[in-house]
Symmetry: C2
Subunit: 135 residues, 2 copies
DNA sequence: TCTTGACCTTCCCATCATTGGAAACCTTAT
DNA sequence: ATAAGGTTTCCAATGATGGGAAGGTCAAGA
């Protein structure tokens, strides 16, 4: 299987496959006589693993750790669980931040007339000092 | 006011002030004879505006649009409101995505024994096809 | 007046994950 | 034989920021 087919099968672009190889996230692929990379089902499965992890928001570094656990037959599932829960906590922190932002903006937008008048609390608020952000 | 003092007063690092100038987000600052940038209260207020916008998660591009509206005496507050609400919609989309990720991960972590046994649904799921992500 | 230390300048590099392009090579079908 | 399309490597850029080097400037103290 050439890199393009592997890309289609895994959902990881050929560019990214080469990149993952260059940073050592995946081992160097086998080559044909003419230098083409070749992939088998195992490699595609690994790429799919990586892609799923990226979709779930794992940084590549964390995926590398998960991959190591995946490959390691003596892996402890508690390690995997901890990584996953750490990531959940991360996500929750970010979600809370974004919800705070959204609520501030919604509040400001409500107060904003939205007609042609130039009085807009959003701009006023953005220009004010940080402490006064939400009153 | 030198750049350092302006940085302290606005909460934007000197590095970023120079960067914002280089990308044209703020006009080039006045200079002393010896080449030092100088800032007044207006400039600091603009920098604070930018900083508040960044804190609220606006991309620099959007801030540029807001700044233009801010400077424009004939601004329509409806334009500002639309920008803000667009951004709220963006935030809500991202929040939903992250909540989906978190819920998948939580579900997987629950199913994961978390003891020393090597059976871990998280890894199995990550290796499976995308469509089967959540069952 | 000279020195010292804190400040400023520009320029380059690095991050992280990803995309884009260019130039050259390979494969396959017509 | 040629054209199309896949592949290779390398180089550059993104966005927002941090880090650092090399050199110029300013203010205060000896």
């Amino acid at each position: 299987m050439n890199i393009g087919e592997a890309a289609r099968a895994s959902g990881v672009s050929a560019k990214m496959i080469r990149y993952y190889e260059s940073i050592g996230l995946v081992p160097a692929a086998a080559r044909t006589n003419s230098g083409y990379r070749t992939y088998g089902n195992t490699e595609v499965q690994i790429l799919r693993f990586i892609r799923r992890g990226r979709d779930l928001g794992f940084p590549v570094e964390t995926i590398a750790a998960l991959l190591a656990l995946w490959r390691d037959r003596s892996r402890q599932s508690s390690d995997v669980k901890r990584l996953a829960l750490d990531h959940v906590a991360d996500l929750e922190r970010k979600i809370a931040e974004m919800q705070a932002m959204a609520s501030t903006l919604r509040h400001l937008a409500e107060t904003c007339a939205g007609d042609g008048r130039p009085d807009c609390p959003i701009l006023d608020d953005l220009g004010s000092s940080p402490a006064k952000a939400c009153h």
